[in-house]
Every structure is written in structure tokens, then in C-alpha cells.
Amino acid sequence: MTALGKDLVGLEHLAPEQIRLILDTAEPFKEVSERPIKKVPALRGKTIVNLFFEASTRTRISFEFAEKRLSADTVNVAATGSSVSKGETLVDTAKNLEAMRIDMVVIRHGASGAAQFLGSRIRSNVINAGDGKHEHPTQALLDLLTIRDKHGKIEGLKVCLVGDILHSRVARSNIWGLTKLGAQVGVCGPRTLLPRGIEELGVTVFRRIEDAIAWADVLNVLRLQLERMEKGFIPSLREYYRVFGVTVERLERAPRDITIMHPGPMNRGVEIDSRVADGSHSVILDQVTNGVAVRMAVLYLLAGGRPELADAAKRGGGAE
């Protein structure tokens, strides 16, 4: 079994040393993308299926680049809409793909737990590219790598997630990853978009964005999904921006420079001011660059990396 187990379903069941291993392995992969020939043969002959049941641009392209830069052969399956649902159909799809002798599946699915479900039923490695409201582990890993690049460490930093925490798999994976690596985590958003009992995960809750800004070293501003307004979680986008928007004026009052992150896609003028998104403390595009390196590291480690971390994998529980 590899250092990470068979699958990467989420960060909840990874040990801190496994998370650090992924980040450390991502480091040399950054350089591969800077080469004149952006390709290494590590996964030559491996076949990877990107199975996206939900729309995605950034994550799918990022995975595809990562796969191609490791010389894997890739197939994209966009199983859009209602014809494919979870349960047996999902397994059938995967079993059919497996019958064509694939090695890995990268899955994005609207149902929480879909990746775990699939991983326990097929032999191929499964990587979760976002499942419902559950986890989006590679996004959190690239966030961690970006924070570590910018601040030189993660331990002891104060990182606040802003916005729709309730529906966000990015928030959940970030909370697991950050707390495991010793960061202090805060969340800030309208009461309707904070899950009840979130304090039990060891995070500090801020009701006002001003308080979060006064506290944090890093703000990770989450996308506000526009349909939240229709469903009555917030009164209006304009009001959301007025109360929770991350603006230059608010950041100017901060006691320190705050690193600004956003997993994308951004709603400029809703959760974040354009001048902040494009400002000098924004690392939003570094996140995108790091996304490819982190995904290369995950693919590489799952494909056969058997470093001396087998006991950490056992202790951490892992996916297998």
C-alpha cells in the first residue's frame, strides 16, 4: 500500500505527516512546469479517467495538466445532468471503465461521500475532486502549499475562511488540513451560512468581517453561490457585499498585511472587491499554479510512491 493508501477521499482521515509528505512532494513538481519540456515520464502507461458529474473548469483542467505532465493517458468523462445519478449507476459507470483497464479515477460528484463509495467498490485508485458538501482535498492542499510558500510555515498562523461555510467542501477540507498542521482557524459569514456546532471542529467564529480582519494573517474568501440568495440564505448580493465583502477600506484598517486567497471562480463585487483580488497581497493566481503541482504529487504518490510512511498511513486510518 502506498503512503497515502489507495484513495484520496479527504483530509479528515489523513495524518499530519501524510499531508506534509504531499506538500513536500509537490515542491519539486513546481519546477517540472517551468521546464522547456513540461513533462516527466513517471506515470507513463497509466490510464486516468476524469469523471466529472458536476461542472468544473479549473479543477478539471488542473488535474488534466497534472496527469499529462506526468505522461499519463487521460480520458475525460462529463456525465452531466440528471441521467446519471448516484448509487448503482455510478458504480456501473466506473466498473465499465475499469473493464477497459484503467488505473485511476478522478471524480467530482454532487453527492457527499461519492468518492468514498466509489473507492470502496473498484480496484483503481480514486481521487476526490469534490463531493457534495463533504470534501475537496486537493483544493485544500493547494491552499496549504500557497500559505506555506507565502509565510514559510503553517503552524501558528491565523487563517480565516470567509463566506458560505455551510455548503462549502473547500471550507471543510481546509479546516481539517489547517488544524492538523497547527494553524488557528477562524470562520466568518452570515449566521445562516455557518453550520451549527462548527466550534466543535476547533474553529473561532466571527460574526463581523471587521473582527475577522483584525484577527487574521490569511483570509480565504469563498465563492458565494448565487443560488443561495434565491433559497433565502442571504437577503441580497448587494447587502452581502456591504456587510461581508472583503474591501480595500476594510483591509486598510487591519493591523498587519493580510494574505488574500480565493478558490475561484470569483464573484467580483460580491464576496471580494476587485482591487483586493488583483492587489499586491493576493495570491489567488499562485493558488492556481500550485494546484497543478499538488495534483501531480497526489497522483504520483498514489500511483506507486511507497515512501517510509507506511506506519503513518496505518495510524492515520487512511482510505484503506
Binding site: A3, T25, E31, I37, V40, P41, L70, Y300, G304, P307
Partner: protein, 185 residues
């Protein structure tokens, strides 16, 4: 039953290692016929330190700073599934385009030749050097591929169960090359 402790023999002590490197530096210069297009590339890990030392010796002799690089060949190995990669892949740093250069690959031990094969593949992705040569501190025999070194610090005959251990001051606190023979039971 206790297994007998492996028997260790010194191949090169610190002074012998220094002399070997000195001679290797001279041979690098001779073969390159000067320093114009020369680039030294060390293989991670200990090859990087050895390349550094040779470059410094050349610098002392010629007053010329030889460009240096580092190469980690983990991603070019042909045995990802059988051996598994090292826990963390080392840095790869190539000083500019290699096209037209004389690249000297520096490594600590030459054994099966698979590392050198991987290094050749990887270097080809960084340009088309005019010449690539291979410079190793210890050639222990046992090749599995048609590869040979151009410059060798020390030749030893080691069996398949033996290990050649190279220690360098920068990483291990001292310079020493040992042959570790495991008893055949």
C-alpha cells in the same frame, strides 16, 4: 540465530577521496579541452556535493567558475512500482539551455547503470548537449545496461549483496567510502 555483522572495508578515506577528486577534476578539464562549454551536473543526492567539489577544484586551477546544476532522476526511473520513489524528490536545477554544451554528469556510485540511463533521458528534455560524459567517484561493476563511465575515481569489485556507502562532509559530517559486505548465509 544471529546474523553475523556485515564486514566493512574502507575504500577511500578522507585523504584518498580528496586525491581522487583532484585527479577527476584534472581529467574533466583534459577531456573537455578547457572550460568554455563545460557544465557539471550532480545527481541527487551525493553527486551534487561531489560536482560542487570538482567545480571548486577546477576554479582554483583555472580561475573559472564552472556552471553547476543538480538533477533528480526519480521521475525518470523505470521501476516506480518495484522500488518506490524516495520519500521526497530532490531539487532539479539546470543552469540554462544545454544545447551545444559539454555536460559532465557527476554521481557517487556507478552500479547497474539505470540511474545514468535515466539521467540521459532527463537531460535530453533540457536541450541537446554537444557531448555528455559520466564522471563517478566509485565504479562498483554489476552493470545491467551498456553504460560506462568516462572518468572514475576508484574501481572496486562488489557483489550483488554488497553495498558501497559514500559519506560526504556536507551531508554526513565526514568523507568516507566503505564497502559493506553482507555474509552469504
Amino acid at each position: 540465530m544471529t546474523r553475523p555483522a556485515p564486514e566493512r572495508t574502507t575504500i577511500l578515506d578522507a585523504r584518498a577521496l580528496a586525491r581522487a577528486l583532484q585527479r577527476m577534476a584534472v581529467e574533466v578539464l583534459e577531456q573537455a579541452q578547457g572550460t568554455d562549454a563545460l557544465i557539471l551536473i550532480g545527481i541527487q543526492r551525493r553527486g551534487v556535493e561531489l560536482a560542487d567539489r570538482i567545480a571548486k577544484l577546477i576554479e582554483k586551477e583555472e580561475g573559472f567558475v564552472v556552471p553547476r546544476g543538480a538533477l533528480d532522476i526519480t521521475l525518470y526511473r523505470d521501476d516506480l512500482e518495484t522500488v518506490g520513489p524516495k520519500p521526497v524528490i530532490g531539487e532539479t536545477r539546470i543552469p540554462g539551455d544545454l544545447t551545444g554544451k559539454h555536460v559532465v554528469i557527476v554521481d557517487d556510485v556507478l552500479y547497474t547503470g539505470r540511474t545514468a540511463r535515466a539521467a540521459l533521458d532527463e537531460l535530453a528534455d533540457f536541450g541537446r548537449p554537444e557531448r555528455i560524459s559520466l564522471c563517478v567517484l566509485v565504479d562498483r561493476g554489476g552493470r545491467e545496461l551498456p553504460i560506462q563511465a568516462d572518468i572514475v575515481g576508484k574501481q572496486v569489485k562488489a557483489g550483488a549483496r554488497d553495498r558501497v556507502e559514500v559519506l560526504v562532509e556536507e551531508l554526513d559530517g565526514r568523507d568516507l567510502v566503505e564497502l559493506v559486505r553482507r555474509e552469504t548465509s
